[in-house]
């Protein structure tokens, strides 16, 4: 039976799915006043971590998020779901705008070493940038095995059995701990935080850490050149027969 802490990242503090508008200077999307919430895949990751703790397979769940002060709300949500304590890695302003998977994975690697974690669980990707890189990079930096797109996770002794969702179907692998897991959609259904848990979460601790304290350099290797709206959908044309359709397609040069 393992009694070890696990880190669970709720790094992705994403925009709620309402009106997204591109900034006038095309450097990104407008984030002021937009409600942020936890990335759905990260919710699944937190739920899995809490489930493992309830099965007494791990000792402690630590929720981590990187960003400005607002991410503390996201960490509180994770605490209300059952995490024991939180770590808020302060990143704000220009650094936050250029914060990408490479920087986050460096932070996660540093924290995992510092906290002596045995398991790092992340969401498979953030739904705002769809990068799907952080988990993999973290594993590489730590030189740990990884089980990505997990739809089932089981701890057996000091090894983990992970069922992964891949293009051809499902793949089952066995990896040794410590390891990195990224959660896919079908891993579990996240619980709703009940009021008593929300109130308990208020008393749980969230530690503040700066990237510099962890020895992490946040400079980005990527520069965003421009962000543009997808083209407006044009009206379609109706045709009567298949021949008409072929003719029309030829006409507009599509075939």
């Amino acid at each position: 039976m393992l009694c070890t802490p696990i880190l669970s990242t709720t790094h992705t503090h994403i925009f709620s799915l309402s009106q997204i508008r591109v900034k006038p200077d095309h450097s990104g999307v407008v984030t002021d006043g937009v409600k942020h919430s936890m990335n759905p895949f990260c919710e699944i990751a937190v739920e899995e971590a809490v489930k493992l703790k309830e099965k007494k397979l791990i000792k402690e769940v630590v929720a981590v998020s990187c960003g400005p002060t607002q991410v503390q709300e996201t960490i509180r949500t994770a605490l209300a779901m059952g995490a024991d304590r939180g770590i808020h890695v302060e990143v704000s302003g220009k650094d936050y705008e250029t914060l990408g998977p490479l920087q986050v994975s460096k932070i996660m690697a540093a924290l995992a070493k510092k906290e002596e974690a045995q398991l790092v669980i992340l969401g498979k990707q953030a739904i705002d940038d769809d990068c799907n890189q952080t988990g993999q990079m973290t594993a590489a930096l730590l030189d740990w095995p990884q089980g990505t797109f997990a739809s089932e996770v089981a701890i057996e002794g000091d090894k983990m059995k992970v069922v992964r969702e891949i293009d051809g179907g499902l793949e089952t692998i066995q990896i040794s701990m410590p390891a990195v897991i990224t959660a896919d959609l079908r891993l579990n259904t996240p619980r709703y935080a009940t009021l008593p848990n929300i109130m308990k979460a208020k008393k749980k601790k969230i530690a503040n850490v700066k990237p510099a304290d962890l020895g992490v350099d946040l400079t980005s290797r990527i520069q965003i050149l421009s962000v543009n709206d997808p083209p407006q959908r044009q009206a379609g044309v109706k045709v009567e027969t298949v021949d008409d359709l072929v003719a029309k397609l030829k006409e507009t040069g599509r075939i």
């Binding site: 619980r191 709703y192 935080a193 009940t194 009021l195 008593p196 929300i198 109130m199």
Partner: protein, 525 residues
């Protein structure tokens, strides 16, 4: 060899020649020290009490008239801390003042006053900063809700958005929603027993939390589902929670709060709606069983329910003293669900007509005292009515907002419909009345949780809600034009669903009668 004696030089106070002023200054210094110590002790007591209070979760707050200091959740908002700090500030204040007066009045009075005022200001500043600590940024101005209320609403909103709203259109078409499934999800998250006792799975909070839940359920895109939830939480179960025996509560209340059993309310009959006292269903005692004959009408969730909270005549006597509330399992032999009623609105809620043909039920299933059924039912009407008002207010807000959105983009005569003065002025009138009704709701709820009788205000609120909902529905539907007349939009569903508000749970005329009774304008005998 000389002996060096190191003498500690002490400032020699020439006591005889001290002026009164200096004496006074010294006494004030001394008092300040004592005040500090006293405050420290009181603060420690305050903090310990607060911790104790916050640890307390097992108090039944349902019985009205319960002493305020025994209700843990009322204090949790920090009101307790604030009150304690204030009391402490005043108490120490008084002590300080008292002692200064005992000093020589020939001394520099302004010095004392200044010192006293300084300390008083310090204390009151401390007190006011504690008030600020007690209320957080977003909720600091709300007249009724604390951050806990908002946290509750947020979780419920997630459930409504993810588990309920995506399916509402389908359920409206099918004429039923899966009550067991939905109630289980709500029960797991703790929303079916917000003001029910903790030992039966509830949260043990006061009625203001139920109102918060009711408001949030108004975000559901139909009236039927919230109505069924309201029956489960605030119509079929309050009397049981308050007056039922422990066995009854274990069998019926606990699973209802957990979401495992669906409850329905059997009060109205074919021949008796507003005139509840004239119901005819009888429950005759035979041995230690009750034999029930009769029928019930307008039973929300009747086709899916596991048990019914039944009001029946258990004796012959004056109509207000002859009825009892009985917990009736719906799978008992002799119960016939005659039909599912096809209604104009509230279509996602199944409404049943039920018949009882020699249905047998143990006598222990009577809730509380025999003959008190009518009174018990009346007691929960205030909650039922305020709940309905909270629910429909959110829906009215939504309809008005959607109408603004639609009329902004819909053009007639070369400009948006919204830009025509008649339209935006009318919407402003409607929104004004919605806010007025909301204020009445919060006022009545605030008084109710302090233990006051709000029958008059609750009846007024329900009366206004029913009538305002009809106005909002009618006016907004008009501005939607032809689109409003289709089934594809929310406003037409609201028009149909909200019409029930003036009829069910106490018709407008009954509300008017109650208000007149309180105004003493009813014809005198």
């Amino acid at each position: 060899m000389s002996l060096f004696l190191v003498l500690q030089i002490m400032p020699v106070i020439d006591v005889e020649n001290l002026t009164d002023l200096e004496k006074a200054k010294m006494e004030v210094e001394q008092l300040k020290k004592e005040v500090k110590l006293e405050r420290a002790v009181v603060s420690k007591c305050c903090t310990e009490f607060m911790e104790h209070v916050q640890g307390l979760v097992e108090e039944d707050t349902l019985v009205k008239g319960i002493a305020e200091d025994k209700n843990p959740f009322k204090e949790l908002k920090g009101g307790c801390v604030w009150r304690m700090r204030r009391t402490e500030a005043v108490a120490v204040d008084m002590a300080l003042l008292e002692r200064t007066f005992r000093l020589h009045l020939t001394a520099n009075r302004s010095l004392f006053k200044a010192t006293a005022v300084c300390i008083k200001r310090q204390l009151s500043e401390k007190a006011s900063s504690k008030i600020k600590d007690a209320s957080s940024s977003e909720a600091s101005d709300h007249i009724l809700y604390s951050p806990e209320h908002f946290a509750l609403k947020e979780t419920l909103k997630k459930i409504v958005d993810q588990e309920i709203n995506p399916h509402v259109d389908k359920w409206e078409e099918e004429g039923m929603f899966p009550a067991h499934k939905v109630f289980k999800i709500l029960g797991n998250a703790g929303f079916l027993g917000v003001n029910k006792p903790v030992e039966y799975g509830g949260l043990g909070l006061d009625f203001s939390y139920s109102v918060a839940v009711a408001e949030e359920l108004g975000n559901i895109n139909c009236g039927g589902v919230p109505m069924a939830i309201g029956v489960q939480t605030d119509m079929a179960t309050p009397a049981l929670a308050r007056f039922g025996s422990a066995e009854l509560k274990r069998e019926f209340l606990l699973p209802s709060i957990m979401g495992d059993k669906v409850a329905c309310l059997g009060v109205s009959e074919v021949g008796a709606g507003s005139d509840v006292a004239s119901i005819k269903t009888k429950a005759v005692r035979k041995g230690d069983e009750l034999v029930i004959n009769g029928g019930k009408m307008w039973t929300t969730s009747g086709t899916q329910a596991d048990w019914m909270c039944l009001l029946a005549n258990t004796s012959d006597g004056p109509p207000h003293k002859s009825k009892s509330l009985i917990c009736l399992p719906m799978n008992s032999p002799g119960i016939h669900i005659a039909r599912k009623i096809d209604k104009m609105g509230m279509r996602s809620s199944d409404t049943a007509e039920v018949f009882f043909d020699d249905v047998r039920v143990p006598c222990q299933n009577i809730i509380g005292q025999e003959g008190m059924g009518f009174t018990y039912q009346m007691l929960q009407f205030q909650e039922e009515r305020l709940w309905g008002v909270a629910n429909i207010l959110t829906m009215m807000d939504k309809v008005i907002q959607e109408t603004v959105g639609y009329t902004r983009q819909r053009k007639i005569f070369n400009m948006p419909v919204l830009y025509h003065q008649a339209v935006h002025f009318r919407l402003a009138e409607l929104q004004t009345e919605v806010e007025l009704l909301r204020s009445l709701l919060y006022r009545a709820t605030g008084m109710y949780i302090k233990g006051q009788d709000v029958t008059k205000l609750a009846s007024m609120a329900k009366l206004k809600a029913g009538r305002l909902a009809r106005e909002v529905g009618d006016s907004c539907l008009q501005y939607w034009g032809g689109m409003g007349f289709t089934s594809d939009v929310l406003v037409s569903r609201f028009y149909r669903d909200a019409r029930l508000m003036s009829i069910g749970a106490g018709a407008d005329e009954v509300m008017l009668g109650i208000i007149c009774k309180y105004m003493d304008t009813m014809p005198r005998k």
